[in-house]
Protein backbone atom coordinates (compact mmCIF):
# COMPACT_ATOMS: atom_id res chain seq x y z
CA UNK A 1 0.00 0.00 0.00
CA UNK A 2 1.32 3.41 -0.91
CA UNK A 3 2.45 5.35 2.13
CA UNK A 4 1.43 8.74 0.76
CA UNK A 5 -0.79 9.15 -2.26
CA UNK A 6 -2.33 12.40 -3.42
CA UNK A 7 -4.44 13.16 -6.47
CA UNK A 8 -5.01 16.72 -7.57
CA UNK A 9 -4.53 17.97 -4.01
CA UNK A 10 -5.39 21.66 -4.01
CA UNK A 11 -5.69 24.32 -1.31
CA UNK A 12 -6.92 27.82 -1.89
CA UNK A 13 -6.83 30.65 0.63
CA UNK A 14 -9.27 33.08 -0.93
CA UNK A 15 -7.79 33.95 -4.30
CA UNK A 16 -4.39 32.54 -3.50
CA UNK A 17 -3.78 29.00 -4.64
CA UNK A 18 -1.27 27.82 -2.02
CA UNK A 19 -1.12 24.24 -3.32
CA UNK A 20 -2.14 23.53 -6.88
CA UNK A 21 -3.14 20.02 -8.05
CA UNK A 22 -0.40 18.09 -6.33
CA UNK A 23 0.07 14.48 -7.41
CA UNK A 24 2.40 12.49 -5.20
CA UNK A 25 3.12 8.83 -4.71
CA UNK A 26 5.60 8.13 -1.97
CA UNK A 27 6.70 4.75 -0.67
CA UNK A 28 9.14 3.82 2.11
CA UNK A 29 11.75 6.44 1.32
CA UNK A 30 12.97 9.83 2.40
CA UNK A 31 11.03 12.26 0.28
CA UNK A 32 12.09 15.89 0.36
CA UNK A 33 9.73 18.68 -0.63
CA UNK A 34 11.78 21.68 -1.66
CA UNK A 35 10.60 25.14 -2.50
CA UNK A 36 11.13 28.81 -1.77
CA UNK A 37 9.33 30.57 1.11
CA UNK A 38 5.61 30.59 0.65
CA UNK A 39 5.58 27.93 -2.05
CA UNK A 40 3.10 25.76 -0.19
CA UNK A 41 5.25 23.22 1.65
CA UNK A 42 3.74 23.67 5.08
CA UNK A 43 0.25 23.83 3.62
CA UNK A 44 0.87 20.47 1.94
CA UNK A 45 2.10 18.92 5.16
CA UNK A 46 -0.91 20.27 7.08
CA UNK A 47 -3.30 18.67 4.62
CA UNK A 48 -1.50 15.34 4.73
CA UNK A 49 -1.56 15.33 8.54
CA UNK A 50 -5.34 15.99 8.71
CA UNK A 51 -4.80 19.48 10.15
CA UNK A 52 -6.21 21.35 7.19
CA UNK A 53 -8.97 20.35 4.79
CA UNK A 54 -8.14 20.64 1.11
CA UNK A 55 -10.23 22.66 -1.32
CA UNK A 56 -10.09 19.98 -4.00
CA UNK A 57 -8.54 16.59 -4.68
CA UNK A 58 -7.74 13.78 -2.29
CA UNK A 59 -4.93 12.44 -0.16
CA UNK A 60 -4.48 9.10 1.52
CA UNK A 61 -1.92 7.87 4.01
CA UNK A 62 -1.32 4.10 4.17
CA UNK A 63 -4.57 3.65 2.27
CA UNK A 64 -6.69 5.82 4.59
CA UNK A 65 -8.28 8.92 3.16
CA UNK A 66 -7.36 12.03 5.14
CA UNK A 67 -10.89 13.43 5.07
CA UNK A 68 -12.90 10.21 5.37
CA UNK A 69 -10.82 8.36 7.95
CA UNK A 70 -8.72 10.99 9.74
CA UNK A 71 -8.45 8.91 12.95
CA UNK A 72 -6.90 6.02 11.05
CA UNK A 73 -4.49 8.41 9.37
CA UNK A 74 -3.46 9.88 12.74
CA UNK A 75 -2.82 6.37 13.99
CA UNK A 76 -0.06 5.79 11.49
CA UNK A 77 1.61 9.19 11.28
CA UNK A 78 3.71 11.55 13.33
CA UNK A 79 4.07 15.24 12.72
CA UNK A 80 6.88 17.56 13.78
CA UNK A 81 5.89 21.17 12.99
CA UNK A 82 8.13 23.83 11.54
CA UNK A 83 8.20 25.86 14.75
CA UNK A 84 9.70 23.86 17.57
CA UNK A 85 7.10 23.05 20.18
CA UNK A 86 8.70 21.54 23.26
CA UNK A 87 7.43 22.21 26.77
CA UNK A 88 10.44 24.04 28.12
CA UNK A 89 9.33 23.83 31.74
CA UNK A 90 9.15 20.05 31.56
CA UNK A 91 12.17 17.78 31.50
CA UNK A 92 12.97 15.85 28.36
CA UNK A 93 11.66 12.71 29.99
CA UNK A 94 8.41 14.36 31.07
CA UNK A 95 7.90 15.71 27.57
CA UNK A 96 8.34 12.21 26.21
CA UNK A 97 6.07 10.65 28.83
CA UNK A 98 3.23 12.97 27.86
CA UNK A 99 3.47 11.70 24.31
CA UNK A 100 3.88 8.05 25.27
CA UNK A 101 0.77 8.23 27.48
CA UNK A 102 -1.25 10.08 24.86
CA UNK A 103 -0.41 7.40 22.33
CA UNK A 104 -1.43 4.78 24.87
CA UNK A 105 1.90 2.92 24.85
CA UNK A 106 1.71 -0.14 27.10
CA UNK A 107 5.05 0.40 28.87
CA UNK A 108 5.65 4.13 28.53
CA UNK A 109 8.67 4.32 30.86
CA UNK A 110 10.71 1.69 28.99
CA UNK A 111 9.80 3.06 25.61
CA UNK A 112 10.80 6.57 26.65
CA UNK A 113 14.13 5.36 28.05
CA UNK A 114 14.83 3.49 24.86
CA UNK A 115 14.08 6.44 22.58
CA UNK A 116 15.98 8.93 24.74
CA UNK A 117 18.98 6.63 24.37
CA UNK A 118 18.52 6.37 20.61
CA UNK A 119 18.43 10.16 20.32
CA UNK A 120 21.46 10.46 22.64
CA UNK A 121 19.55 12.42 25.25
CA UNK A 122 19.79 9.96 28.14
CA UNK A 123 22.28 11.95 30.22
CA UNK A 124 20.20 15.13 29.97
CA UNK A 125 16.80 13.45 30.22
CA UNK A 126 16.02 14.88 33.64
CA UNK A 127 17.01 18.46 32.89
CA UNK A 128 14.33 20.98 32.00
CA UNK A 129 13.99 21.31 28.24
CA UNK A 130 14.67 25.04 28.49
CA UNK A 131 18.30 24.18 29.14
CA UNK A 132 18.52 22.23 25.87
CA UNK A 133 20.20 23.51 22.74
CA UNK A 134 18.24 23.85 19.51
CA UNK A 135 19.65 20.59 18.22
CA UNK A 136 18.68 18.74 21.40
CA UNK A 137 15.14 20.11 21.26
CA UNK A 138 14.85 18.90 17.70
CA UNK A 139 16.08 15.45 18.69
CA UNK A 140 13.58 15.45 21.55
CA UNK A 141 10.83 16.23 19.07
CA UNK A 142 12.02 13.42 16.83
CA UNK A 143 11.99 11.07 19.80
CA UNK A 144 8.42 12.12 20.62
CA UNK A 145 7.43 11.48 17.03
CA UNK A 146 8.78 7.92 17.17
CA UNK A 147 7.02 6.89 20.34
CA UNK A 148 4.22 4.96 18.66
CA UNK A 149 6.32 3.56 15.82
CA UNK A 150 4.53 5.43 13.05
CA UNK A 151 4.65 4.31 9.45
CA UNK A 152 4.93 7.82 8.04
CA UNK A 153 6.74 10.72 9.70
CA UNK A 154 6.20 14.30 8.54
CA UNK A 155 9.02 16.69 9.32
CA UNK A 156 8.57 20.36 8.45
CA UNK A 157 12.06 21.84 8.13
CA UNK A 158 13.67 19.57 10.71
CA UNK A 159 17.12 21.14 10.45
CA UNK A 160 16.31 24.83 10.17
CA UNK A 161 18.46 27.02 12.37
CA UNK A 162 20.80 24.22 13.44
CA UNK A 163 24.57 24.17 13.06
CA UNK A 164 26.35 21.75 10.77
CA UNK A 165 27.05 19.14 13.42
CA UNK A 166 23.49 19.20 14.76
CA UNK A 167 22.11 18.91 11.25
CA UNK A 168 24.28 15.93 10.50
CA UNK A 169 23.18 14.22 13.69
CA UNK A 170 19.50 14.84 12.91
CA UNK A 171 20.03 13.37 9.46
CA UNK A 172 21.76 10.30 10.80
CA UNK A 173 18.77 9.70 13.02
CA UNK A 174 16.34 10.20 10.16
CA UNK A 175 18.31 7.73 8.08
CA UNK A 176 18.14 5.17 10.87
CA UNK A 177 14.37 5.63 10.93
CA UNK A 178 13.99 4.72 7.26
CA UNK A 179 16.08 1.60 7.74
CA UNK A 180 13.25 0.35 9.93
CA UNK A 181 10.84 0.77 7.03
CA UNK A 182 9.41 4.16 7.86
CA UNK A 183 8.48 6.69 5.22
CA UNK A 184 9.82 10.17 5.82
CA UNK A 185 8.18 13.19 4.25
CA UNK A 186 10.17 16.30 4.93
CA UNK A 187 10.48 19.85 3.73
CA UNK A 188 13.70 21.80 3.61
CA UNK A 189 15.43 24.84 2.21
CA UNK A 190 18.86 23.24 2.27
CA UNK A 191 19.61 21.86 -1.18
CA UNK A 192 22.85 20.22 -0.16
CA UNK A 193 21.04 18.22 2.52
CA UNK A 194 18.30 17.15 0.16
CA UNK A 195 20.92 16.12 -2.37
CA UNK A 196 22.84 14.10 0.15
CA UNK A 197 20.09 12.41 2.11
CA UNK A 198 16.79 12.31 0.22
CA UNK A 199 15.92 9.35 -1.96
CA UNK A 200 13.63 11.53 -3.97
CA UNK A 201 12.84 15.21 -4.05
CA UNK A 202 10.02 17.29 -5.39
CA UNK A 203 10.58 20.95 -6.10
CA UNK A 204 7.49 23.12 -5.80
CA UNK A 205 7.01 26.68 -6.79
CA UNK A 206 3.78 28.63 -6.32
CA UNK A 207 2.08 25.43 -5.20
CA UNK A 208 2.93 23.50 -8.36
CA UNK A 209 5.47 20.71 -8.78
CA UNK A 210 8.25 22.04 -10.99
CA UNK A 211 10.47 18.96 -10.90
CA UNK A 212 10.41 15.58 -9.23
CA UNK A 213 12.81 12.65 -9.13
CA UNK A 214 15.95 11.39 -7.44
CA UNK A 215 18.56 14.11 -6.96
CA UNK A 216 20.77 12.25 -9.42
CA UNK A 217 18.08 12.18 -12.10
CA UNK A 218 17.31 15.83 -11.69
CA UNK A 219 20.93 16.81 -11.90
CA UNK A 220 21.50 14.68 -14.99
CA UNK A 221 18.74 16.54 -16.75
CA UNK A 222 21.12 19.44 -16.76
CA UNK A 223 24.17 19.04 -18.95
CA UNK A 224 27.50 17.80 -17.68
CA UNK A 225 29.01 21.06 -16.54
CA UNK A 226 27.75 24.23 -14.95
CA UNK A 227 29.38 27.56 -15.69
CA UNK A 228 28.69 30.29 -13.18
CA UNK A 229 29.40 33.88 -14.05
CA UNK A 230 29.69 36.70 -11.57
CA UNK A 231 28.52 39.94 -13.10
CA UNK A 232 28.93 43.58 -12.29
CA UNK A 233 25.57 45.22 -12.88
CA UNK A 234 22.60 43.92 -14.76
CA UNK A 235 22.49 40.72 -16.82
CA UNK A 236 21.90 41.19 -20.54
CA UNK A 237 20.73 37.87 -22.00
CA UNK A 238 22.94 36.00 -24.46
CA UNK A 239 22.22 33.10 -26.80
CA UNK A 240 24.98 30.61 -27.43
CA UNK A 241 24.98 27.20 -29.02
CA UNK A 242 26.15 24.51 -26.59
CA UNK A 243 25.27 26.46 -23.43
CA UNK A 244 21.83 26.73 -21.83
CA UNK A 245 20.82 29.43 -19.41
CA UNK A 246 19.89 28.01 -15.98
CA UNK A 247 19.01 31.00 -13.91
CA UNK A 248 20.10 34.14 -12.17
CA UNK A 249 20.50 34.72 -8.47
CA UNK A 250 22.28 37.38 -6.42
CA UNK A 251 24.46 38.80 -9.19
CA UNK A 252 25.52 35.47 -10.63
CA UNK A 253 24.10 33.75 -13.69
CA UNK A 254 24.64 30.11 -14.52
CA UNK A 255 24.61 28.06 -17.66
CA UNK A 256 24.90 24.36 -18.32
CA UNK A 257 27.08 23.06 -21.07
CA UNK A 258 27.97 19.67 -22.49
CA UNK A 259 31.61 20.65 -22.45
CA UNK A 260 32.31 23.41 -20.02
CA UNK A 261 35.97 23.95 -20.92
CA UNK A 262 35.06 24.76 -24.50
CA UNK A 263 32.01 26.79 -23.63
CA UNK A 264 33.89 29.00 -21.17
CA UNK A 265 35.77 31.30 -23.60
CA UNK A 266 32.87 31.40 -26.07
CA UNK A 267 30.52 32.38 -23.28
CA UNK A 268 32.90 35.07 -22.07
CA UNK A 269 32.98 36.65 -25.53
CA UNK A 270 29.25 36.41 -26.02
CA UNK A 271 28.57 37.98 -22.65
CA UNK A 272 30.92 40.86 -23.34
CA UNK A 273 29.34 41.47 -26.72
CA UNK A 274 25.89 41.61 -25.20
CA UNK A 275 27.13 44.36 -22.89
CA UNK A 276 27.70 42.42 -19.67
CA UNK A 277 30.52 43.27 -17.33
CA UNK A 278 32.02 39.92 -16.34
CA UNK A 279 33.91 39.83 -13.03
CA UNK A 280 34.59 36.12 -12.68
CA UNK A 281 33.70 32.78 -14.20
CA UNK A 282 33.96 29.28 -12.84
CA UNK A 283 33.24 25.75 -13.83
CA UNK A 284 31.75 23.00 -11.66
CA UNK A 285 29.51 19.95 -11.61
CA UNK A 286 25.75 20.51 -11.41
CA UNK A 287 24.23 20.58 -7.95
CA UNK A 288 20.65 20.47 -6.78
CA UNK A 289 20.90 24.24 -6.36
CA UNK A 290 21.09 24.56 -10.13
CA UNK A 291 18.10 22.30 -10.60
CA UNK A 292 16.24 24.39 -8.06
CA UNK A 293 17.21 27.63 -9.74
CA UNK A 294 16.17 26.33 -13.13
CA UNK A 295 12.79 25.03 -12.03
CA UNK A 296 11.88 27.80 -9.61
CA UNK A 297 13.49 30.75 -11.33
CA UNK A 298 14.30 33.85 -9.36
CA UNK A 299 13.43 33.33 -5.74
CA UNK A 300 10.63 35.59 -4.72
CA UNK A 301 7.58 35.21 -2.59
CA UNK A 302 4.25 34.83 -4.34
CA UNK A 303 2.25 38.01 -4.71
CA UNK A 304 -0.68 36.79 -2.69
CA UNK A 305 1.51 36.73 0.37
CA UNK A 306 1.82 40.48 0.75
CA UNK A 307 -1.84 40.98 0.22
CA UNK A 308 -2.64 38.36 2.83
CA UNK A 309 -0.26 39.92 5.35
CA UNK A 310 -1.73 43.30 4.64
CA UNK A 311 -5.23 42.06 5.26
CA UNK A 312 -4.12 40.45 8.50
CA UNK A 313 -2.72 43.78 9.63
CA UNK A 314 -5.92 45.59 8.78
CA UNK A 315 -7.86 42.95 10.63
CA UNK A 316 -5.74 43.49 13.75
CA UNK A 317 -6.24 47.23 13.68
CA UNK A 318 -10.00 47.02 13.58
Amino acid sequence: MTAILTEGLTKKFGNLCAVDSLDLSIEKEIFGLLGPNGSGKTTTVLMLTTLLAQTKGSASICGHDTLLAPEKVRDCISYVPQDMAVDTNLTGRENMLVFARLYGISDPKDKVDELLAVMELSDRADDLAKTYSGGMRRRLELAEALVHEPEVVFLDEPTIGLDVAARRSIWNHIRKMTKKGMTIFMTTHYMDEADQYCDRVGIISHGKVAAMGTPQELKSRLMKDVVTVTLEGEYHPVMLEGAVFVGESEGTVSFTAGNGREALPLLADALKQAGNCVKAMSLREPSLDDVFLQSVGKQEEPKGFEEWKFRMMLHRRN
Binding site: L51, A53, Y79, P81, A85, N89, R101, L102, Y103
Partner: protein, 241 residues
Amino acid sequence: MKGVATYMYRDFIRWIRYRVGVISALVLPAAWLLFVGLALPVTFTGNYLDFITPGILVMTILTAGISSGSLLMFDKILGFLNKFLAMPVPRESILVSKILFISVRGLIQATIIIVLAVLIGATMMNPLQYGLVYLILFLFGVFISAFSTTVALYLDDHDSFAAFTAMVTMPLFFTSSALMPYDAMPGWLATIARVNPLSFAIDAIRDVGAGGVPVVPILLLFVFTAVVVVMAGYVFRKVTV
Protein backbone atom coordinates in the same frame (compact mmCIF):
# COMPACT_ATOMS: atom_id res chain seq x y z
CA MET B 1 -12.08 10.16 27.96
CA LYS B 2 -8.72 8.98 26.69
CA GLY B 3 -5.99 11.56 26.97
CA VAL B 4 -7.77 13.94 29.35
CA ALA B 5 -5.72 12.86 32.36
CA THR B 6 -2.46 13.21 30.45
CA TYR B 7 -3.29 16.63 29.10
CA MET B 8 -4.25 17.73 32.63
CA TYR B 9 -1.01 16.30 33.99
CA ARG B 10 0.91 18.36 31.44
CA ASP B 11 -0.91 21.58 32.32
CA PHE B 12 -0.58 20.90 36.02
CA ILE B 13 3.20 20.41 35.87
CA ARG B 14 3.57 23.50 33.74
CA TRP B 15 1.58 25.48 36.28
CA ILE B 16 3.52 24.14 39.28
CA ARG B 17 6.88 24.94 37.63
CA TYR B 18 5.77 28.47 37.00
CA ARG B 19 6.21 29.52 40.62
CA VAL B 20 5.08 33.14 40.44
CA GLY B 21 1.84 31.91 38.94
CA VAL B 22 1.25 29.47 41.76
CA ILE B 23 2.05 31.98 44.46
CA SER B 24 -0.16 34.66 42.98
CA ALA B 25 -2.97 32.16 42.52
CA LEU B 26 -2.76 31.25 46.20
CA VAL B 27 -1.98 34.63 47.72
CA LEU B 28 -4.44 36.73 45.78
CA PRO B 29 -7.63 35.13 47.10
CA ALA B 30 -6.23 35.19 50.62
CA ALA B 31 -5.44 38.88 50.27
CA TRP B 32 -8.94 39.56 49.04
CA LEU B 33 -10.43 37.76 51.97
CA LEU B 34 -8.29 39.56 54.53
CA PHE B 35 -8.72 43.04 53.07
CA VAL B 36 -12.36 42.90 52.19
CA GLY B 37 -13.49 40.56 54.95
CA LEU B 38 -11.63 42.08 57.86
CA ALA B 39 -10.61 45.58 56.92
CA LEU B 40 -13.90 46.95 55.62
CA PRO B 41 -15.96 48.28 58.49
CA VAL B 42 -19.31 47.08 57.23
CA THR B 43 -22.34 46.23 59.31
CA PHE B 44 -24.98 44.76 56.98
CA THR B 45 -25.09 41.50 58.79
CA GLY B 46 -23.94 39.96 62.01
CA ASN B 47 -20.93 38.17 60.56
CA TYR B 48 -19.64 40.02 57.49
CA LEU B 49 -17.02 37.29 56.96
CA ASP B 50 -19.79 34.73 56.45
CA PHE B 51 -21.42 37.13 54.05
CA ILE B 52 -18.32 38.00 52.03
CA THR B 53 -16.71 34.55 51.80
CA PRO B 54 -19.10 33.22 49.10
CA GLY B 55 -18.42 36.38 47.10
CA ILE B 56 -14.66 35.93 47.35
CA LEU B 57 -14.99 32.25 46.45
CA VAL B 58 -16.95 32.96 43.30
CA MET B 59 -14.71 35.90 42.43
CA THR B 60 -11.69 33.60 42.68
CA ILE B 61 -13.26 31.02 40.41
CA LEU B 62 -14.13 33.82 38.01
CA THR B 63 -10.60 35.23 37.78
CA ALA B 64 -9.10 31.75 37.59
CA GLY B 65 -11.54 30.66 34.92
CA ILE B 66 -11.79 33.72 32.75
CA SER B 67 -8.12 33.62 31.83
CA SER B 68 -8.28 29.92 31.03
CA GLY B 69 -8.91 30.62 27.38
CA SER B 70 -5.33 31.77 27.05
CA LEU B 71 -4.13 28.26 27.93
CA LEU B 72 -5.58 26.83 24.74
CA MET B 73 -4.68 29.96 22.82
CA PHE B 74 -1.00 29.65 23.71
CA ASP B 75 -0.99 25.97 22.79
CA LYS B 76 -2.32 27.07 19.45
CA ILE B 77 0.10 29.96 18.92
CA LEU B 78 3.13 27.93 19.99
CA GLY B 79 2.30 24.98 17.77
CA PHE B 80 1.43 22.44 20.46
CA LEU B 81 -2.17 22.27 19.40
CA ASN B 82 -1.27 21.14 15.89
CA LYS B 83 0.95 18.43 17.31
CA PHE B 84 -1.85 17.17 19.54
CA LEU B 85 -4.46 17.42 16.81
CA ALA B 86 -2.35 15.16 14.60
CA MET B 87 -2.45 12.42 17.25
CA PRO B 88 -4.95 9.58 17.43
CA VAL B 89 -6.39 10.93 20.72
CA PRO B 90 -10.00 12.19 20.52
CA ARG B 91 -9.61 15.88 19.71
CA GLU B 92 -12.28 17.00 22.15
CA SER B 93 -10.24 15.65 25.05
CA ILE B 94 -7.91 18.64 24.61
CA LEU B 95 -10.80 21.00 25.25
CA VAL B 96 -12.23 18.91 28.09
CA SER B 97 -8.84 18.71 29.79
CA LYS B 98 -8.38 22.49 29.72
CA ILE B 99 -11.81 23.12 31.20
CA LEU B 100 -11.36 20.48 33.89
CA PHE B 101 -7.85 21.62 34.75
CA ILE B 102 -8.93 25.22 35.25
CA SER B 103 -11.96 24.20 37.29
CA VAL B 104 -9.93 21.92 39.54
CA ARG B 105 -7.26 24.56 39.98
CA GLY B 106 -10.01 26.98 40.96
CA LEU B 107 -11.24 24.49 43.57
CA ILE B 108 -7.74 24.28 45.06
CA GLN B 109 -7.75 28.05 45.47
CA ALA B 110 -11.25 27.87 46.91
CA THR B 111 -10.09 25.38 49.52
CA ILE B 112 -7.46 27.82 50.73
CA ILE B 113 -10.07 30.54 51.11
CA ILE B 114 -12.48 28.27 52.96
CA VAL B 115 -9.80 27.14 55.42
CA LEU B 116 -8.56 30.67 55.93
CA ALA B 117 -12.07 32.03 56.41
CA VAL B 118 -12.78 29.52 59.15
CA LEU B 119 -9.45 30.31 60.80
CA ILE B 120 -10.27 34.02 61.01
CA GLY B 121 -13.78 33.57 62.28
CA ALA B 122 -16.25 32.37 59.64
CA THR B 123 -18.83 29.81 60.71
CA MET B 124 -17.88 26.21 60.15
CA MET B 125 -20.33 24.22 57.95
CA ASN B 126 -21.08 20.51 57.92
CA PRO B 127 -19.51 18.18 55.29
CA LEU B 128 -22.72 18.00 53.22
CA GLN B 129 -22.85 21.77 53.01
CA TYR B 130 -19.22 21.90 51.92
CA GLY B 131 -20.03 19.26 49.32
CA LEU B 132 -22.78 21.49 47.92
CA VAL B 133 -20.50 24.53 47.94
CA TYR B 134 -17.88 22.60 45.97
CA LEU B 135 -20.51 21.39 43.52
CA ILE B 136 -21.70 24.95 42.87
CA LEU B 137 -18.15 26.25 42.54
CA PHE B 138 -17.23 23.40 40.19
CA LEU B 139 -20.23 24.00 37.95
CA PHE B 140 -19.53 27.70 37.94
CA GLY B 141 -15.85 27.01 37.15
CA VAL B 142 -16.75 24.83 34.18
CA PHE B 143 -19.21 27.48 33.06
CA ILE B 144 -16.64 30.29 33.16
CA SER B 145 -13.72 28.37 31.68
CA ALA B 146 -15.81 26.95 28.84
CA PHE B 147 -17.07 30.47 28.15
CA SER B 148 -13.58 31.93 28.21
CA THR B 149 -12.21 29.16 25.99
CA THR B 150 -14.94 29.78 23.45
CA VAL B 151 -14.12 33.47 23.35
CA ALA B 152 -10.38 32.74 23.09
CA LEU B 153 -10.90 30.34 20.19
CA TYR B 154 -13.04 32.93 18.54
CA LEU B 155 -10.84 35.99 19.08
CA ASP B 156 -7.69 34.18 18.13
CA ASP B 157 -5.14 36.75 19.26
CA HIS B 158 -3.84 37.33 22.72
CA ASP B 159 -4.09 41.11 23.02
CA SER B 160 -7.80 41.17 22.25
CA PHE B 161 -8.33 38.34 24.66
CA ALA B 162 -6.51 40.11 27.49
CA ALA B 163 -8.61 43.20 26.82
CA PHE B 164 -11.71 41.06 26.92
CA THR B 165 -10.90 39.49 30.30
CA ALA B 166 -10.08 42.85 31.84
CA MET B 167 -13.32 44.23 30.52
CA VAL B 168 -15.40 41.41 31.91
CA THR B 169 -13.95 40.57 35.33
CA MET B 170 -14.15 43.75 37.38
CA PRO B 171 -17.56 45.01 36.21
CA LEU B 172 -19.04 41.56 36.75
CA PHE B 173 -17.71 41.46 40.28
CA PHE B 174 -18.81 44.93 41.32
CA THR B 175 -22.28 44.55 39.86
CA SER B 176 -22.88 41.26 41.67
CA SER B 177 -24.20 40.55 45.11
CA ALA B 178 -20.65 39.75 46.28
CA LEU B 179 -20.03 42.82 48.44
CA MET B 180 -23.48 43.77 49.74
CA PRO B 181 -26.98 42.38 50.00
CA TYR B 182 -29.60 43.51 47.47
CA ASP B 183 -31.50 45.72 49.92
CA ALA B 184 -28.36 47.69 50.70
CA MET B 185 -27.81 48.46 46.99
CA PRO B 186 -29.18 51.39 45.02
CA GLY B 187 -32.16 50.26 42.94
CA TRP B 188 -30.41 50.24 39.56
CA LEU B 189 -27.54 48.19 40.91
CA ALA B 190 -29.88 45.67 42.49
CA THR B 191 -31.55 45.17 39.11
CA ILE B 192 -28.24 44.46 37.41
CA ALA B 193 -27.03 42.33 40.29
CA ARG B 194 -30.06 40.05 40.11
CA VAL B 195 -29.34 39.05 36.49
CA ASN B 196 -25.58 38.84 36.96
CA PRO B 197 -24.47 35.18 36.66
CA LEU B 198 -22.01 35.79 39.45
CA SER B 199 -24.77 36.67 41.94
CA PHE B 200 -26.49 33.51 40.91
CA ALA B 201 -23.63 31.35 42.17
CA ILE B 202 -22.99 33.58 45.19
CA ASP B 203 -26.62 33.51 46.32
CA ALA B 204 -26.71 29.74 45.95
CA ILE B 205 -23.67 29.40 48.22
CA ARG B 206 -25.15 31.82 50.77
CA ASP B 207 -28.30 29.74 50.68
CA VAL B 208 -26.26 26.64 51.50
CA GLY B 209 -24.58 28.53 54.35
CA ALA B 210 -27.98 29.47 55.72
CA GLY B 211 -28.96 25.81 55.85
CA GLY B 212 -30.92 25.56 52.60
CA VAL B 213 -30.46 23.26 49.61
CA PRO B 214 -30.72 25.43 46.47
CA VAL B 215 -31.96 22.73 44.10
CA VAL B 216 -33.35 25.03 41.41
CA PRO B 217 -30.29 27.31 41.16
CA ILE B 218 -28.01 24.27 40.99
CA LEU B 219 -30.12 22.70 38.24
CA LEU B 220 -30.19 25.98 36.34
CA LEU B 221 -26.44 26.40 36.74
CA PHE B 222 -26.06 22.88 35.39
CA VAL B 223 -28.14 23.71 32.32
CA PHE B 224 -26.25 26.96 31.61
CA THR B 225 -22.96 25.14 32.01
CA ALA B 226 -24.03 22.38 29.64
CA VAL B 227 -25.07 24.94 27.03
CA VAL B 228 -21.74 26.78 27.21
CA VAL B 229 -19.77 23.53 27.09
CA VAL B 230 -21.63 22.44 23.96
CA MET B 231 -20.97 25.86 22.46
CA ALA B 232 -17.25 25.59 23.27
CA GLY B 233 -17.20 22.14 21.67
CA TYR B 234 -18.83 23.50 18.56
CA VAL B 235 -16.40 26.40 18.15
CA PHE B 236 -13.47 24.09 18.92
CA ARG B 237 -14.50 21.69 16.20
CA LYS B 238 -14.95 24.56 13.77
CA VAL B 239 -11.48 25.99 14.29
CA THR B 240 -9.74 22.62 14.18
CA VAL B 241 -11.03 21.19 10.90
